[in-house]
Structures are given as C-alpha cells and as structure tokens.
Symmetry: C2
C-alpha cells in the first residue's frame, strides 16, 4: 500500500459508506458511536424499533416533517435544529405539549462523520431546549449524489392540552392578528448564504422551539382562536390559508410588521417580499379583539416574543382576500406564493 492509498483509506474511514446503511454490524456501530451517545434516554436506549410512551391521558397529537435544507449548516442553526424546532412548533400550534420525537436520517455516501456528529449534537441541544426526547429513529444510506449529504425526517407526538379551543371555525371579523417577532430571518439567511451575498450586519436563522412561548399564551386566559407557524410560504401563506378556509378577509399594515433593517435590506437586494419568506421560530396568532393587548403582553414577556406585534385584523370584506396597507398609503392583495423564491429552504 502506498502512502497515497493510506491517506485515501483514512479519509474514507471518516465518511459514510453504503454499508453503514445495510442494517448489519456497521450500521450498529454507526448508531452506537455517532447517534446514540448524545441522544440517549430511557426510551431510546433499548434500541427496539419503536418506543413505548407512558400515557397518563389526553388526546394524542401527531405530526411529521422532512428537512432537505441546503446548506446543512448556516448562521443561527443547521438542519438538525430546524427539524427539532419544526416538529415541536407543529405540535405547539395545535395546542399540544410536545412529548417525544422520532428521528429518521437519510445519509449520503461520502458524508463526513464529523458533520453528522455536529448535527446530532445540535439535535440533542435543540431537544433539551424544547424539553422533548428523541425516542425512536432509523438510519438509511443512499449513494453519493450531489453531495448534499443528509435529509432528516422528524415526527412528533404531543399531548393535547386544556385551554382555548384552537379552531379556524371560531375566527370572526374583528379578531386580531399577531406575530411573535421579526419576520423572514430564516429564509433570508439561507438565501444569502447560498447566493453568497454578504450583508453588512449578520443575518441569522430564527429557528427556535416555540412550545414555551405558546404554552404561556394558551394559559394566559386570552381567547386564542388559531395558531400557525409561518414556515414555507411565510406569513403570506398562512394568512392566505386562513382567509381561504374561513371565508373571511384579513387586513394587515406594512408599518406594523416587525422586521429588522438588515432583513429589509436583504429582502430588497434579493428582490423578495419578506412576508412570503420562511420563518422557523415565528407564529401567526389569531386572538379575540378584546384580548389582543393581553396576548401581546404575554408574547412580549417571553424571550422569543420580545418583538411581537399586532399586524392586522380579520374583516368581513367580500370577496375574502388578504390586503396589505403599504407604508406609502397604498393597498395590495397578498397572495400565497406560487412556488417559492428558492427551493430547499427547510
């Protein structure tokens, strides 16, 4: 063996190979050495194919999401943090307390094990932050392709909490529309990293688990009627959905939409409307008019809601549309984006 061969061999030992996905000895070692150490808990430990969750009562809420974001790591997060936060948030906006998460990894042949290790560490950290456990998982390996390296699916199980009944059918004219903070940071971060545009000040993904913030809101006594995290399609997509499915109109005011100067500039340079851009730690809340100020105060009292704002209200205008009152005093219709500015944003 030449020195060159040895070098290649060593390099290859630090990367995913197809046999890591075969379900044999090498798969066991990959899981034991690179996945379990940071995630281990009583339920994940036994390594059966499923986890048993002790269940005291309350209905079960169940959700899933796949993550294909590229690049895998970006300012403010990575695909692992995104997966945990996304699943926690999907449960939270249903009024559920997240209990457990599953982790499906699809690894590309050639993925450096160091990258896998960092992402698993990030998954473990995000799960701790959200107070949930990864209780079951699966690992597959696919042939080397574009070099993207890694897809993640997380599913989540939560327990439905008592509190206001979240139901689009309860939304009515006059209800207030709130968001818990500055919009568009996640999508703009991914796009700026990918387009290699550097902005003067730093743009970071907002990926965060919202179960704490939403739990406080639901316990506050405010009549919360509907919650939805504004991921792909942005706040525009969520509002278009609410309008379409409730048959009501929504009026929002551009001047009230929280967005940092950095994000506004980035969106302008990229030619994007920030309300159509993906967030990973922002929630649209529909709250009875009388409770709007209570809800706003509750959101602002939480670290993830400091920049919360009332951005508009539900109206009975016909036909049902979402209208934006611009800073310049004009009006325009907000539509659900057709495709997306850029694919693989989450």
């Amino acid at each position: 063996m030449t020195v060159g061969d040895a070098g290649l061999g060593s390099d290859r030992r630090d990367r995913i190979v197809l046999a890591h996905g075969g379900g044999g000895e090498l798969t066991s070692r990959l899981i034991a050495n690179h996945v379990l150490p940071l995630l281990k808990n009583d339920r994940l430990g036994p390594l059966t194919d499923s986890a048993i969750l002790p269940w005291a009562g309350g209905n079960v809420v169940f959700t899933t999401d796949s993550y294909v974001v590229t690049p895998l790591e970006f300012p403010g997060g990575d695909i692992g943090r995104l997966a945990v936060c996304g699943t926690v948030n999907d449960l939270s906006v249903m009024g559920a307390a997240p209990i457990a998460i599953s982790l499906g990894l699809i690894l590309e042949e050639g993925l450096p094990l160091g990258v896998l290790d960092r992402i698993v560490a990030s998954i473990a950290a995000a799960a701790r932050e959200a107070g949930v456990e990864v209780v079951t998982g699966d690992t597959k390996v696919i042939e080397r392709r574009g070099g993207d390296g890694l897809f993640i699916n997380t599913a989540g199980v939560g327990r439905l909490m008592e509190g206001p009944r979240l139901d689009l059918g309860r939304v009515e004219s006059g209800d207030a529309i709130l968001v818990n903070g500055n919009l568009a940071d996640h999508g703009l971060t991914i796009m700026s990293v990918r387009s290699d545009i550097r902005f003067d000040s730093e743009l970071r993904s907002d990926a965060a688990p919202l179960n704490g913030l939403i739990g406080q809101l639901l316990k506050s006594g405010a009549d919360v009627k509907f919650l939805r995290d504004a991921t792909r399609g942005g706040v525009a997509g969520v509002l278009a959905d609410i309008s379409e499915r409730s048959g009501l109109s929504i009026e929002i005011r551009e001047a009230d939409i929280p967005i940092t100067r950095t994000a506004r500039n980035a969106a302008e340079m990229l030619g994007l409307d920030p309300i159509t851009v993906a967030n990973e730690g922002k929630c649209v809340c529909v709250v009875a008019a009388k409770d709007a100020s209570t809800a706003l105060a509750v959101l602002r009292s939480h670290p993830l809601g400091k920049a919360a704002a009332v951005i508009g209200r539900v109206t009975s205008a016909k036909p049902p549309l979402v209208e934006l009152n611009t800073r310049a005093g004009g009006q325009r219709i907000v539509q659900r984006p057709y495709g997306e500015e850029l694919p693989r944003i989450c």
Copy 2:
C-alpha cells in the same frame, strides 16, 4: 414557440418541478390532486400540520422508518407498500395495535406524476389492508439527481395492547424460535430485479402488514416473549441481536427453515445466505417451549403464516452465539451481516 418546445412543456407538466416543494400554491395543488384524494380521512382532511388522535387509554407506542428502496416498484410491491407495512410491523412486534401513520414524501424534481399517483394508491391500499389511517404528512422536493425519484418516511403511533409482556429479559434457555413463513423473498426480489437476473419462476416481495397475524398470536394465550420483524440483516441479524442482548445462545436447523425452491436457487445464484436477506412480512417469534405448538398452529391458521415453522431454540451454551446445524450435518456460526449484500433494499 416551436413544436419541440410545446412537447417539452407538456412533458414537464406531468413531472415534479422544484416549485412543487415551495409550500405555495403549487404545493397545495400537488397535495390536493395527487396525495389527498386516495388518502382522505377525517383526521387528514383539515390539512393542519398535525393530527389529533382521540385516545381512550393505553400507552402510546411510537416508531419511524425511512424508505430508499430502488427500484421504486418491484414484483409484489413498491416503496409505498413497503413503508406502510414496515411501520405497521414495527408497531405490531412491540405488542401495539397500529392506530395512525404519518407520511413524509421527498420527491425528486422530474419524478413523473404518474409514478407518484401509483405509489400513493399503493399506500392507501396497504393502509386499508392494515386497518390504519394516514393522518398527517409533509412533502418536499429536491433537485434532480440520480433519477431515483422518491424517498418516503413513515412514522407510526400505536396503542399498547394487553397480553404477554414482550421483553428480551424474559427469554430463557429452551424457548422456541419460530418464523411465520418463507424467508428472503423481499431481498432476493429486489436484487434479482436490479441485477436483471430472471429466474424461471417468479420471485415476489413478501411485503405485508403483520398486525392481524401478530394480534392473533398475542391473544392465543401462548407465552410469547419477544417478537421482531426480520428486515435488513434478515433472520440472522435478529437472532444475533437476541443472542447478544440476552447473553444466551440460539441453535437453528437449516432443514427447518422455510424457504421456497425458487428463493433457494436465486440465493445460490446470487451467492447469498438466505437467512441474512431482508424480509418485509416475516417475524421472528420467541415463545415458551410448552407453547411452541400452540403458537405454530395459530400462525399457520392465518393467511400470512401458512408456511410458519419452528426453526430452532434458545440454549444456555457459552459463549452466547447463534449456531446453524446444516443439512449436511455440519455446524456453523451465524453472524450479523457486516454491511449488506446490496444497499437500498428497503
């Protein structure tokens, strides 16, 4: 526009494009026209990001698996049937009644919509067969790559049933090892399709939901101690796991292992040991010796257990190993396969 352009346009309209994954209007249409019609049920209907499962009691069992099999369609099944059966079986071997399944689709740009439609139809059919509902889902699109087209993740939620306590700690010397039918059909089917070897008689994947069969076994009164579906790594992988984790030995007899002549010939031609080959409708059962014949009769009374057999027993021989008594009267150690004969088998 030339005739050529028009032709390309028409072809492209029948395929997945990146914008299908953007979370906007085009994603909504894809889901509405190609995913929902066949899967629709009360819980999936509302298209919130999560499903609420009414829960009467009993602990929650939770599992996940990703599927990357290639080709997507093969004799006896396709990636969709595999995903539903695999998740149903993972819940069933834990002693749980499957309740609900999530469906995460990762689609490749260029995937013909006709292929997606067939696979969604197959998912719906397999779910009906198993008596479970797809209650929540997610769809992402990735750039065109190798042309494989489609990855699936399914997670499953089940209700832990009353019955014998399935626990490796209860396995002891003398217990019988059973399987519910002919081995290796799934893996050999995939490999023969991929290697383009044609065998004289037809080889078909055994992909099937085992919840009915396992439910009967658990209700039979037989002292069932441990169950595991023998997928990647085959029966060899499951037995190696049992031996390693229980500290006990296992003795199996080659002459008692059910396998069709077709599969035996195919394995020989491919140079494979059939007990290391993946199954998708076969379960290894560890049952108290006194109940072995009861368990065998129950398995054989079910359509998916007609070829069930007792293939061996647990012993206290040291060191703990899995030993195969060959037809020729010899003995050899059975090991967990190192990687896999061929990747992307499920």
